[in-house]
Structures are given as structure tokens and as C-alpha cells.
């Protein structure tokens, strides 16, 4: 086993048996996580590869490049691993969260506006604690807004500062 080189992109190993870098998530684990947490089927990502650059920062890429590769960015930041609770990114949830059927928090217009502004809100909810997908209805469909952290009866907004808006 070797350590993680935070300066370059390395493709995730397919399974535990292929793992060569200590603590690196596997493709199988990533797919299982999205399926278990949000019920998003694994075949959603069959045309994508997953990469680690930086400690635990997982990127999703739909193109074709050799591994490892030293570039500034590869696809989209997708998931934060190497911590007790894995955390999806706002951008990943916006792109793929429409398919989610569990741990989705449907907000009213007013709640959605406060969420995007970065406010925490007390909202009753009988689902799992932890990271959830905040969504609202727009143009007649349910659309994911971002990632919330639900603990102690409160929905915390994790919308990054640079993406917070007054809409």
C-alpha cells in the first residue's frame, strides 16, 4: 500500500481487491453509497469514471484520459470521503439528484429561498439524520437545490458561500 499523492488525479480502483492506495474509496463503494443513501441506481454512472485528487476529494469524469494525470481539474467534484460521513457536493446533487427517491427534503418556496441564502431552518422530518438532498418544485418538476445536513430537528444549509444567492 502507498499513500495518496494530493497533486495529481488517480482513478479509483474498481473494488477492494484492486486497491493500492491506503484509505482510497473504490468505485464499488462510491456507487453503493449513492444507491444506499439516495436510491440513485449504479448504472446512472456507467459512462463515468471516479478520481481522487486531494485527500478524500472524489471527482466524476465523463471523458477519456490516462491515469494518473496532472491537470487542474477533471470533471466535477462529486463526493468527500476519508471522513466518518461521506458528503456529496452541491454540484453533484444538482446534476444527478433528480433521480433520488430517499433522503430528499422537499421545501416550500419560502424554505427554498432561505436554504439558498445559507440559512439553517427547524423543519420536522421523520427520515434519516445526515446529509440529505434539498429540493423544491420549479417549472412543474421537483428539482434538487443542494446538500443539507439534517440533525436535531434542524436542516442546515451547506450551500457553499460562492453559490449562495438571494433569489
Amino acid at each position: 500500500m502507498t499513500g495518496n499523492d494530493g497533486q495529481r488525479f488517480d482513478r479509483l480502483p474498481a473494488t477492494e481487491d484492486d486497491r493500492e492506495v491506503d484509505g482510497r474509496a473504490t468505485r464499488e463503494e462510491v456507487l453503493d453509497w449513492w444507491e444506499n443513501r439516495f436510491d440513485i441506481p449504479a448504472d446512472t454512472f456507467e459512462n463515468h469514471t471516479f478520481w481522487e485528487k486531494g485527500a478524500g476529494k472524489i471527482w466524476i469524469f465523463g471523458g477519456d484520459v490516462p491515469t494518473p494525470i496532472s491537470v487542474e481539474g477533471l470533471g466535477m467534484t462529486f463526493l468527500r470521503t476519508r471522513q466518518e460521513h461521506w458528503k456529496p457536493t452541491t454540484d453533484a446533487v444538482q446534476r444527478f439528484g433528480r433521480l433520488a427517491t430517499t433522503n430528499v427534503f422537499e421545501l416550500t418556496d419560502e424554505q427554498a429561498e432561505r436554504f439558498v441564502a445559507g440559512e439553517d431552518q427547524e423543519i420536522p422530518y421523520d427520515g434519516d439524520w445526515g446529509y440529505v438532498i434539498a429540493a423544491h418544485e420549479i417549472a412543474g418538476e421537483r428539482e434538487p437545490i443542494g446538500v443539507g445536513l439534517y440533525v436535531y430537528g434542524e436542516l442546515k444549509s451547506t450551500v457553499p458561500k460562492g453559490r449562495q444567492r438571494s433569489v
Binding site: 487542474e72 417549472a139 444567492r165
Partner: protein
């Protein structure tokens, strides 16, 4: 507007041109088809009480009646991207297909790169390069907000862009590109309606200096494109030194030719002569868009085919 006096004999209805340059620009957005259809965006703008009008020449460009399109739900969701209307021209002309290898040589801050990704339906490989590390964060931010996953972001001087990082095991270089966009750094005369300070640093020396950079970038773009592949060259300026003269230089130095293309906006052909210098007659296939023709910013675009 002083620097524009040199275009008095070139631009039809010069007074209308100068008048248009002094007016502010209508707000426009591009629908990001990776996340939404134009119909969904219209529905959302209707709900928000924001007026809009689709551009006649492009199905995904809309003029919007708000000064702050960034503060709307469609923008937050990455359904739309604020983008000047003429800035949607080059990616439209390059017209990449899903599955291709595409390079955006001067990509930051990413309006055109994200448009290329949408044209590719997020399939294939888009290399988005820029030499300015600071501007790369804006590029990455925009790509992620619009849900692009097929982009590899690089930080190189486009004049010596290297295929080496993309080489597979045992190969010396990575594959050449099917299509390359060179939306070159320029003197930005055409952005005067958006940025009234655009002409503040204008000088003939500045124009000449930047033209040298443009020649280097376009030459390298042709070199990294496969035979039969396409390069689009564009600027947001009117200066022939940065437009037709750059094309003339690259036509003489590299194996490529200019090709015709359709553009459903009113425009002029490229200039074959400027201040006593004649250019390769092929440059008439380039297109000049002036602000008074379509009530937009100014723009220049040319399409090249690489190899015989």
C-alpha cells in the same frame, strides 16, 4: 470612441455603429441543455415574472428583462448562463459532436467551454485550457455549476500547448483534437457596450503586441488538430491586425484553409485589405458582426479546416 475613427471607411452606416457602441447592451442568457430545455426555462421565468425573448438565430439564446439574471432560480440551478449574445457564436460555429476530442485553448472564464460541453451532450473529452491560473477558478466554478463532467482543465500557455499529459502508456503524445476553439485574448473593442472602459488602454502598439500572441496560439491550435479537423478562431474586437491579418499569417505558415459557414445574424465579410496591406482572399469567409447590425456586442469569427 476615438480608436473607432479608423473604421469610418470600413463600416456601413458608421454613425449608427458609433451610436450603438454608446448604448448599453441587452441582457442575454444561454439555456444550458445539460440541465434544462428552453421550454423549462421559459416556464421558470414565467413563474418568476421575468420577461424573455428567444433569439431568432439560436434556439438556446434568450434576451431577458432583468438586470440580474444571476439572481434567478434558473441561474442557481445552472439551467441558464449569463452570456452575451455574440459570445454564443464561436461554439455554435465549431459545432462539436458527442464523443469527439475538443480543445478550448483560451477557455476562462468558461461561457464558451460550457457551451461546447452542452453541444457535445457531455460526451467525449473537452480540454479547457487557460494560461491564467486565477481565471481557472471561474472556469471550474462555471463548469461545475452547469453540470459539466467531460472537461479536463489545464493551465498552459496555448502557444505551446502540450499533448504529452494525455499520452497513454507507451505513447509519446496524446491524440490530436477533432476540433479546437481559439477564442483569443484581444483588444476587446467589441465589448464597449458591456464595458465602457474597454478602450482605455487602447494603442496601436497594444494591438500589434496582442496580434503576435494570437498568431502563436492559432498556429499551435492548427498543429494539435487532426487532418480534416476544424479550428474556429474568434475575437471580440474589430481590429484587422488581430483578425484577418492573423488568419493571413496562419494560412501561410500552417496546413489549413478557411471554409464557409452559416450565421443567421446580420454580418459583414472579412476584409481583404487594410491600410495598404492585402490579405489572402480566403479571409472573406470570416464574419464581422457590428453592434448596430443586430443590437449586440461586436465579434469576429472564422472557421478553418486543417490538412488538405
Amino acid at each position: 470612441m476615438e480608436p473607432f475613427e479608423r473604421y469610418r471607411d470600413v463600416v456601413d452606416d458608421f454613425e449608427a455603429f458609433i451610436d450603438a457602441c454608446g448604448r448599453s447592451l441587452p441582457m442575454a442568457v444561454r439555456v444550458n441543455t445539460l440541465k434544462a430545455t428552453p421550454e423549462q426555462v421559459e416556464h421558470a421565468f414565467d413563474e418568476a415574472g421575468v420577461g424573455y425573448e428567444r433569439a431568432g438565430w439560436h434556439p438556446h439564446v434568450m434576451r431577458v428583462e432583468t438586470d440580474t439574471p444571476g439572481a434567478t432560480w434558473p441561474s442557481f440551478h445552472g439551467w441558464v448562463h449569463g452570456q452575451e449574445e455574440v459570445s454564443a457564436i464561436p461554439a455554435t460555429v465549431l459545432a462539436p459532436e458527442p464523443g469527439e476530442r475538443v480543445l478550448d485553448a483560451c477557455a476562462a472564464p468558461g461561457s464558451k467551454a460550457t457551451q461546447l460541453a452542452a453541444e457535445m451532450d457531455d460526451e467525449g473529452t473537452l480540454v479547457a485550457n487557460d494560461n491564467n491560473l486565477g481565471r481557472l477558478s471561474a472556469l471550474r466554478f462555471n463548469c461545475e455549476r452547469l453540470g459539466v463532467t467531460n472537461v479536463a482543465v489545464t493551465n498552459r500557455d496555448a502557444r505551446n500547448f502540450s499533448l504529452k499529459p494525455f499520452a497513454a502508456d507507451g505513447e509519446r503524445e496524446g491524440p490530436k483534437f477533432d476540433r479546437v476553439l481559439v477564442d483569443a485574448p484581444c483588444s476587446c473593442e467589441g465589448t464597449i457596450r458591456k464595458n465602457p472602459d474597454a478602450l482605455d488602454g487602447w494603442s496601436e502598439d497594444h494591438v500589434a503586441g496582442i496580434a503576435g500572441v494570437q498568431k502563436g496560439i492559432l498556429r499551435r491550435a492548427v498543429q494539435v488538430t487532426r487532418d480534416g479537423g476544424t479550428v474556429v478562431y474568434s475575437t471580440c474586437t474589430f481590429a484587422p491586425e488581430e483578425n484577418e491579418a492573423v488568419l493571413d499569417h496562419v494560412l501561410r505558415q500552417e496546413d489549413c484553409r478557411l471554409v464557409d459557414y452559416d450565421l443567421a445574424l446580420e454580418h459583414d465579410d472579412g476584409l481583404t485589405e487594410w491600410e495598404g496591406t492585402e490579405f489572402d482572399p480566403q479571409v472573406t469567409k470570416a464574419k464581422r458582426v457590428y453592434p448596430h447590425q443586430n443590437d449586440t456586442g461586436g465579434f469576429f469569427t472564422a472557421k478553418l479546416e486543417v490538412g488538405a
